[in-house]
């Protein structure tokens, strides 16, 4: 299961498929963005290198969400920062390690035609406008995702995202500095996810991404020690899928556009999120198990499903579950 195909093929560097011609059945519009297909790279997974973005785009991703970028570079926590829990689930406390807005804007400055959504993180509304200014002129930056839900960094992410007032201020501050879509990423924290989504929407957000990792922990029983250097981190992967589907369903039911994220590993998972109301899906942890072929596999699976159901475009199934 965990023995990656890639690992066993020395010499050949990857086994991802070559890019397929874009399939109109898979094209979606979310937050005003037209994407060739609904599979996006989730923030923080393979998220700092333009060369890697190009590779993921070739491998079939519909869009790329970058690692969450802060105004200053962050080194992040000491290792272990990522722990596999088995069953396609992971725990991480990377600590928002990122090169900072300045270096990252240079990284992606040479446009290569890859649609990039820059994920931003900060501890107050003041920090966002200067970042937006660095990225907004770049043509390949198609929008922003705001990480208000990282569950394991003090005064950033979730601690901000649990505060409806701060959420509103941040959304407004960013919207004031850009005409590009702004997506707010929410999670399961100490506030009602639907309420935060509503506040974000009312403050001008174009869509919501749900969900981030869930605050969690693992202790090694032979040593009695927490494994993550930060002790507490965020749970991702298959384990959080049912909770994520619920959030997508409830946010979508409130009439807010949503991008689904959390435990999507197969095309069936992606379809489940879309039925729940997602307009697009983000894939993170699954790359660890299925490698970057996962984008093309999920795209192909959705396509076959649509054919079988006699649907012309994936947007026709978005939110179908609300009928029942």
């Amino acid at each position: 299961m965990a023995k990656s195909k890639a690992n066993s093929k020395a010499g050949r560097t990857t086994n991802e498929r070559t890019v397929q011609p874009d399939d109109p059945a898979l094209a979606v519009t979310v937050a005003g963005l037209h994407l060739r297909n609904p599979t996006m790279l989730a923030s923080g997974i393979l998220g700092i290198s333009q060369d890697i973005f190009a590779r993921l785009y070739r491998a079939g991703a519909g869009a790329i969400v970058s690692k969450s970028i802060s105004i200053e570079p962050i080194e992040g926590y000491r290792n272990p920062t990522i722990v596999s829990l088995g069953s396609n689930s992971y725990l991480n406390a990377v600590g928002l390690a990122n090169p900072g807005a300045e270096a990252f804007s240079k990284e992606i400055a040479p446009s290569r035609g890859i649609p990039i959504i820059v994920s931003l993180v900060g501890s107050s509304d003041k920090e966002f406008p200067p970042m937006v200014q660095k990225f907004d002129a770049l043509g390949n930056v198609i929008g922003y995702e705001v990480n208000l839900s990282c569950p394991h960094v003090a005064k950033m992410g979730m601690e901000v995202g649990d505060d409806p007032e701060m959420v509103s201020r941040i959304v407004k501050a960013i919207k004031a500095g850009t005409r590009k879509p702004v997506i707010i990423k929410v999670g399961i924290g100490a506030a009602d996810v639907v309420k935060i989504a509503k506040v974000a929407k009312e403050s001008g957000a174009d869509a919501i991404t749900a969900i981030n990792t869930i605050r969690a922990m693992t202790i090694n029983i032979e040593t009695g020690m927490p494994v993550l250097s930060n002790r507490i981190g965020g749970l991702s992967g298959a384990a959080i899928k049912p909770a994520a589907v619920r959030c997508v369903y409830e946010i979508s039911k409130a009439g807010i556009p949503v991008i689904g994220c959390g435990g999507i590993t197969t095309w069936e998972d992606a379809v489940e999120f879309i039925l729940a109301g997602a307009s697009a899906v983000q894939i993170g942890s699954a790359i660890g198990n299925r490698w970057i072929d996962v984008f093309a596999e999920i795209g192909a699976g959705i396509k076959k499903y649509l054919e079988r159901k006699g649907m012309k475009n994936v947007m026709e199934i978005s939110g179908l579950a609300h009928k029942y």
Partner: protein, 288 residues
């Protein structure tokens, strides 16, 4: 042990034995079936409880140890925080390992090969040497060190290559032992830089395998290129996940942990960052 073990989950191992190689290098021996079966060039993510987690090549345990079934080893150079914690461990202490990860050095049709290693870059080459020995491949290995007291694995290399034609060359920068100079100086002498033809018959070597400081490997690559020799180099980059999700180990569009660590001359030739820059913990590019 279950058959379908998930290599990504941390396995607790207990240190059986520690070998002092030099004042700053030790080998830690432990039992773990999966690690013992690692292929040449593969690495483990080694958890030092409440300390660090570091990528470490899998070393071969001393074949003379009895009861070394399922044994594997790590050879560590004491450097900064994490490696020092590991260096200070004692028999009976607990470590966690996951993996092995990464691709392997390929032998293919090669008959005469050159190994060039510096420092702990020798570790994966030792595992390769063991395999070359059982495949009866003519092997020349260059062991580079700064000074005499930092030389290690000379005896180990001779022992691992005992059943095949082999030569072990040691170089020290200060000339206190073996040939004076860098490992690459010795290599330059062997491949008569640039003059060798790309003809199997005349060539002294069919392939060069290398692991060590990146600037050394870059030099090995350049020397081999001018001699039209194939190369397999094991790259090092900062690693967090080891499984291709965090991106910290990227070089160009490659994830060293999952696509590598071993790249051939064709791949290396397209890597603009090889020998020139790496990414630090935050992901910023830094020149060497």
């Amino acid at each position: 042990m279950p058959i379908n073990i998930d290599i990504n989950r941390i396995r607790v191992v207990i240190i059986d034995k520690i070998v002092h190689e030099t004042p700053t290098v030790k080998t830690i021996v432990f039992k773990d079936r999966l690690s013992s079966e690692a292929k040449p060039g593969q690495f483990l993510m080694v958890w030092i409880p409440r300390g660090e987690e570091l990528p470490m090549s899998v070393m071969v345990p001393d074949r003379k140890d009895k009861n070394n079934k399922d044994s594997a080893a790590l050879t560590i150079r004491k450097h900064g925080y994490g490696s020092t914690l590991l260096f200070d461990k004692r028999p009976g202490d607990i470590l966690g390992v996951r993996g092995p990860y990464g691709n392997e050095f390929k032998i293919g049709q090669n008959k005469k090969v050159l190994l060039v290693g510096g420092g702990t870059g020798l570790v994966p080459l030792m595992r390769l040497a063991r395999k070359l020995n059982s495949n009866k491949i003519d092997t020349t290995i260059i062991i580079g060190a700064r000074t005499k007291e930092e030389v290690f694995f000379e005896r180990m290399a001779n022992d691992l290559l005992r059943d095949t034609r082999h030569q072990v060359i040691v170089t020290t920068e200060d000339g206190s032992y073996g040939e004076k100079g860098y490992a690459t100086d010795a290599m330059a002498r062997l491949v008569d830089g640039g003059k060798q033809e790309r003809s199997r018959k005349n060539a002294k070597f069919d392939c060069v395998y290398t692991c060590g400081p990146e600037l050394m490997m870059k030099k090995v690559y350049d020397l081999a290129a001018s001699a039209s020799l194939p190369v397999q180099a094991s790259l090092e980059r900062y690693m967090k996940c080891g499984i291709g999700i965090c991106s910290s180990c990227c070089i160009g569009d490659q994830l060293v942990c999952r696509d590598g660590t071993i790249y051939n001359e064709r791949q290396l030739s397209t890597m603009a960052e090889f020998g020139r820059m790496y990414r630090d913990k935050s992901g910023r590019r830094v020149p060497y």
